[in-house]
Structures are given as C-alpha cells and as structure tokens.
C-alpha cells in the first residue's frame, strides 16, 4: 500500500510541482475548449486563447514566484 501511495505521488509529481500553475493550465485548456465549442466557425480563436493563455500563465506564475 505504501509503495502504491509513493508511486502515485511520484507520478503526480512528474506533472504537478506548483499547484497554481497546474490549475491555471487546466483553466486555459477549459477556456479554449469552450471557445472551440461555442465558436466552431472560428477554430483559430480557441488556438489563440490556448497559446496566449499558456504564455500569460507562465508570465504571471514566474513573476509571482520571483516577488515571493
């Protein structure tokens, strides 16, 4: 049991280091999915949201960590 818990923690740790960054990425993907669903005639809008959103999340997260 302990091995399983350790292994799953390790696996999650591979992808999630800073919880706020992970949540923000999920939100950007969700927003992008909403755009692609609501505006299927403009699929590039969803792509733009995804790309700009990820860059924005990175900027905000790093600047926040640098100020701490």
């Amino acid at each position: 049991m302990t091995i399983l818990v350790t292994a799953s923690r390790m696996l999650v740790g591979l992808f999630i280091d800073d919880g706020a960054l992970a949540v923000a990425i999920f939100l950007v993907v969700l927003l992008s999915w909403i755009f692609s669903t609501l505006m299927p005639e403009m699929p590039l809008a969803a792509g733009a949201v995804l790309l700009i959103g990820c860059l924005g999340v990175l900027l905000a997260n790093v600047m926040n960590a640098a100020r701490r």
Binding site: D18, F26, L51, C54, L55, V57, R67
Partner: protein
C-alpha cells in the same frame, strides 16, 4: 489536419516531408531531456560505485534501464488503440503540465530566484548518505541496498524521459526515432562518465532544461490544439513557431524576474 488517420498510429516507413518538421524537434527534445536526466542519474550511480564498487551500481542501473525500456514498449503501442483526437488532447495537456513545469523552474533558476542544480553537491550528498548507511547496516545487505539505490536513481530520472519519448513520439509513429534520440544521449553520458570517472559538472543543465521546457510547451500547445480541432496555420511548422514564441517570452520573463528580484532586495 488533412489526411490524418483516426487512431494514433502512422506508417513509420511512409513519413511525408512535413512529418520531418515534427521528427527533428521530437528527436532533439528526447535527446536533450535524456541528456539532462542521464547526467543526474550518473551522479548517483558514480557515488554508489565509489562507495560500494561497480557491480551493485551497474546491476541496479541496468535493471532500471530494462524497466524503462519495458514501459516504452508496453505503453507506446497501447496509445494506438485510442482515437487520435483523444490521445492528442490527453498527451497535449500532460505535455503542457510537464513542459511548463520544467520551463518555470529553468526560468526561476536562470533569474537567480532558486539555486542552480549542482552535480558536485549532489554527488557529495549521495556519497555521505551511502557511507552513513554503511555504518548502520549489516555488511551483507549493503550491496543489495546499493543496487536498489542505483536502480531507483535510473528508474526515477528515466521515467521523465520515458514520458517525453512517448509523448513526442507515439502520436506520429516516431516512437523508435525518439527512443533512439534518448538512448544516444544516455550512451554519450555513460561514455563520458566512464572516461572521466566523476560527475559531469560542466554540462549546462539549466540551459538544456530551458530548451527542453520550451520544446515540450510548444508540443503541448500544438497537440492540445489539435485535440480540440484547431487547424493550426502551417500545420506541423506551427510547432517551430510556438517554440520560437515560448523562447522569446521565456527569455523576456527571465529579464523581468531578475529586475523584480533586484528591486525587491533591501538596499
């Protein structure tokens, strides 16, 4: 994208020219990430070899490598059983999480917010831990523990490489090429480590992590977009454009974070 199959598999022998725009970044990303992780694993294996000899260190490391190869062989082909868009979306999101985590850490290190990883310190810490273990444990168990430590180091560091190889390789029939890229980096590190017999301190680890983080984030945006049905302009060439954009923005963030840190310091 025009003419893509509905499942996550491609005929590897019939790679169209545009696939090479994905192949080159995929193989390079696998090579560089493997280089970084192999350097870290080598430090621990060398520490174990210097305390307990080469036999347990080599057996543990080879067992770890065999496990990693098994994971690639098992998981890679499994992905072809799922619909392509679902695989692209899932792998894209995981790549974003993984790549931006690496890039964030590399930016923070480049800006001086967190310290750089030092192989000499890691080697000293590992050696001390093993010596301490040797004082407390029974002699007969020491080789077993040393082998286990070597196995753990290779398996843990290699797991990240396995994910990268599968993520950048499996969706386009590039699993073999990406695996070869990763294996080549391993061999380079092992050969250099074997010759110089000490940790590779001069490898610009953070620069490599920075580059891999940029590439993985670019792949992540591309695959997630493809999974959501975004027809990226320029198709596969978009990956290179995204990588250039991530690089520019990341370098800008390093400069901003440095300035913000200097301003925050007490005068």
């Amino acid at each position: 994208m025009v003419g893509v199959p509905t499942t996550a598999s491609y005929a590897p022998n019939a790679l169209p020219m545009s696939i090479w725009t994905t192949a080159a970044p995929a193989v390079t990303t696998a090579f560089l990430s493997s280089l970084v992780e192999a350097v870290e694993a080598l430090t621990i294996v060398l520490a174990i070899a210097s305390v307990r000899g080469w036999r347990p260190a080599a057996i543990g490391a080879l067992t770890g490598l065999a496990l990693l190869a098994l994971i690639v062989l098992a998981l890679g082909p499994l992905l072809s059983c799922f619909p392509l868009h679902a695989v692209q979306l899932a792998i894209g999101i995981l790549l974003l999480l993984f790549g931006m985590r690496w890039l964030r850490k590399a930016i923070l290190r480049a800006a001086g917010v967190i310290p750089l990883h030092d192989e000499a310190i890691a080697f000293a810490a590992e050696t001390e831990q093993l010596r301490d273990q040797a004082r407390r444990q029974h002699e007969a168990r020491l080789d077993w523990l040393a082998g286990l430590a070597s196995f753990k180091a290779v398996a843990l560091e290699g797991l990240e490489v396995v994910f990268i190889v599968i993520a950048v390789g499996a969706g386009r029939g590039l699993l073999g090429a990406a695996s070869l890229g990763a294996l080549a980096a391993c061999l380079v590190v092992v050969a250099v480590g074997f010759v110089i017999h000490r940790p590779l301190e001069r490898v610009p680890e953070n620069t490599l992590k920075f580059a891999v983080g940029v590439m993985l984030s670019a792949f992540g945006v591309f695959w997630t977009g493809e999974g959501l049905g975004v027809p990226w302009p320029g198709e596969d060439f978009a990956i290179l454009a995204f990588a250039a954009l991530f690089l520019l923005v990341a370098l800008g963030i390093v400069a901003l974070a440095r300035r913000s840190r200097v301003e925050a310091l007490p005068t």
